[in-house]
């Protein structure tokens, strides 16, 4: 049985429609217009124990709302979900002792006290016996190399150090399910890398289930085998990271290094030129025509080197997001993004 089971989950917020101007503000004092905003509409998902799943999507897509629903912070408008058999928004103490939520933008530690004081409180409220508390704490602090910082007030720690402490606080009770909302937000590259390495190691070692949202493609590429793209409150894609490119981009990028004296003239017939930095020329070519175009180019031009690559992931995802929002702006069918996916034929990514 899946450890996380989500069925047709939906959450809409009622927001006050504030209009511009003093006149409207006065009118708003007694008569308010409300609008329902669908943060999450109809999400269904199964996650097996031990999976490391990334939620990907533009701001306001419903990723954080989904995590909030799963941690029981908010009630859904409709639909069901269970995590380890618990309904999250029942907020039973037993459930709370078996999962953890870490939000990159929120501080859960006592600001003016050393982190170890917060850890002691966690030991008490999560009922961790002192042997395993000590063992877990030693293990986590040495993995994250923060032993020396335990006694320093949290306010004096750097953002990266604080994030490590937040993770320790969240993992002390050895949760089976961990929700991470932007754990590396605002961190520099090295700190990001440290956190990634730690999460990867810890997840593999413990076999816990992790759901992560992040804007950093590097986080996701480093950590997650499975990616769920959420946009407009719905799941647009569920599969591997590389699969996104296969599904949503019908093009390949061909880069040629022309031999000395060759001109790039005429290459635009094979596709849209991307970049010309002689002697290198890149252009975009529909996948179905890659082999045909390459054949022609090789017979017509003198080429020193060739590379055929997928377009950058960020670009594909950005395209996917704009695509989705355009669809919904047109008011056309929801499934368009998925239809698009089947159109791009799945020619294996051939990197010579």
């Amino acid at each position: 049985m899946p450890i996380i089971q989500i069925d047709q989950l939906a959450k809409s917020y009622r927001v006050y429609q504030k209009k511009e101007g003093l006149r409207e503000a006065l009118r708003g004092l007694w008569k308010r217009e409300y609008k329902d905003v669908d943060a999450v509409k109809d999400i269904s998902l199964r996650v097996e124990a031990g999976e490391f799943v990334a939620f990907l999507g533009p701001n306001g897509a419903g990723k954080t709302t989904t995590l909030k629903l799963l941690s029981g912070v908010i009630y859904p408008t409709s639909g069901n979900a269970t995590v380890m058999g618990f309904v999250p928004w029942d907020r039973s103490l037993e459930y709370r002792r078996r999962f953890a939520l870490v939000m990159g933008q929120k501080n859960q530690l006592w600001w003016d006290l050393p982190a170890q004081e917060s850890f002691r409180l966690h030991q008490q409220i999560y009922k961790i016996d002192s042997d395993s508390f000590k063992k877990t704490l030693d293990e986590l602090t040495s993995l994250l190399t923060v032993q020396e910082l335990l006694g320093r007030p949290v306010r004096e720690l750097s953002l990266g150090e604080r994030m490590k402490m937040e993770l320790i606080a969240a993992l002390l009770h050895r949760p089976e399910v961990l929700f991470l909302d932007e754990p590396t937000i605002g961190l520099d590259v090295i700190a990001q890398h440290n956190i990634q390495q730690f999460l990867k190691f810890y997840q593999a070692e413990r076999g816990i289930t992790i759901l992560l949202t992040s804007h950093y493609m590097k986080d996701i590429a480093a950590l997650c085998k499975r990616v769920v793209v959420i946009a407009q409150g719905q799941i647009q894609y569920d599969g591997s990271l590389s699969g996104i490119v296969d599904s949503f981009s019908g093009d390949k990028i061909i880069t040629l290094q022309l031999a000395v004296g060759q001109s790039e003239l005429g290459l635009d017939r094979y596709g849209e030129l991307e970049k010309i930095a002689m002697p290198r020329v890149s252009f975009r070519c529909p996948r179905s025509e890659v082999s045909k175009s390459l054949g022609e180019i090789l017979s017509n031009y003198q080429i020193d080197d060739i590379a055929v690559e997928d377009p950058p992931l960020e670009e594909t995802i950005a395209k996917l997001f704009t695509h989705v929002s355009k669809d919904s702006a047109d008011g056309s069918a929801d499934g368009n993004a998925k239809n698009e996916a089947s159109k791009g034929n799945s020619m294996a990514s051939n990197k010579p």
Binding site: T64, V73, I74
Partner: protein, 287 residues
């Protein structure tokens, strides 16, 4: 049958959690020693101005001999003694920053912590507040003792009976609980209003006059006297002082103590209900 061993374990565990919250809140409080000590001592300044104020009032009543003047049965000495006792009462029952901190927790989403972690918000706040009070008294006991020593001549009746003293101490602890749950309720209105400062302002204004902080409530004319007698806020300042001064005795003392317990329980229950309802409404503001 629930076996008594596991039951006592639960109690022991609940106690240890509260103890841990108290300990940590206390050490947090002491992180800012300087500010804290200064703030505590500055609270004693108004005593001097208040004594001068009452002196001026009694002087206008009886310019020949202010000490002989009477205001609804209170002499100048009685008035100062009363005022000093309300200071003690308010040191228990006032909750600086409680309501607004709850409202801020709701608005900024910090309250999520208490929904995700296995710890109850109101329990947590209660024990942190106990820690605040302990820290406060650690610093304030000496100055309080000094002030009472210097003003001992104002207590014309001397020390009260042991039973009265016991009732006084009990009323102080209960007024702490009442004050806490009352202001917690105001803070929890933040689930609906996001900003509670104006509500708090109105409450503080009423509290200032009707709790007995400003003047002894029994100098009020009817029907105001009867009205304030039925309000809970008189227990925050007037009541403990009145008990100490022997104004409430016998059956009336028992009734008032019962009322105080009743109000405390009522506001405790209300805080729980408002919290549960508020969470229902809560949609997770602030990301």
């Amino acid at each position: 049958m629930m076996d008594s061993h596991s039951f006592s374990n639960v109690i022991w565990d609940a106690f240890r959690t509260r103890w841990m919250i108290l300990r940590i809140a206390l050490s947090e409080r002491l992180a800012y020693r300087g500010d804290f000590v200064l703030g505590t001592l500055m609270r004693f300044l108004p005593i001097i101005t208040q004594i001068f104020l009452w002196w001026a009032i009694f002087q206008s009543i009886n310019p020949e001999d202010p000490n002989a003047g009477r205001l609804s049965g209170y002499s100048f000495q009685d008035m100062v003694a009363y005022y000093l006792l309300t200071m003690v009462g308010r040191a228990f029952s006032s909750m600086p920053g409680l309501s607004s901190s709850i409202a801020v927790k709701i608005r900024d989403g910090e309250i999520k912590k208490f929904l995700v972690q296995p710890v109850d918000l109101i329990t947590f706040l209660f024990w942190s507040r106990v820690a605040h009070k302990i820290a406060y008294y650690t610093i304030a006991t000496l100055p309080f003792a000094l002030v009472f020593f210097l003003c001992r001549s104002y207590f014309t009746l001397g020390w009260p009976e042991p039973w009265t003293l016991a009732a006084f101490v009990a009323s102080l602890f209960l007024s702490f609980a009442l004050g806490f749950y009352l202001e917690a309720c105001i803070g929890l209105v933040g689930f609906w209003m996001l900003e509670v400062s104006s509500l708090l302002f109105v409450y503080m204004l009423f509290q200032f006059f009707l709790s007995g902080h400003m003047f002894p409530l029994d100098i009020l004319p009817e029907p105001f006297l009867s009205i304030v007698n039925y309000l809970p806020i008189k227990y925050l300042a007037y009541f403990p002082a009145a008990v100490f001064l022997g104004k409430v005795q016998g059956t009336q003392l028992a009734i008032d103590m019962g009322m105080l317990v009743g109000w405390t329980v009522l506001f405790f229950v209300m805080s729980q209900v408002i919290y549960r309802r508020g969470l229902r409404r809560y949609s997770g503001y602030g990301g």
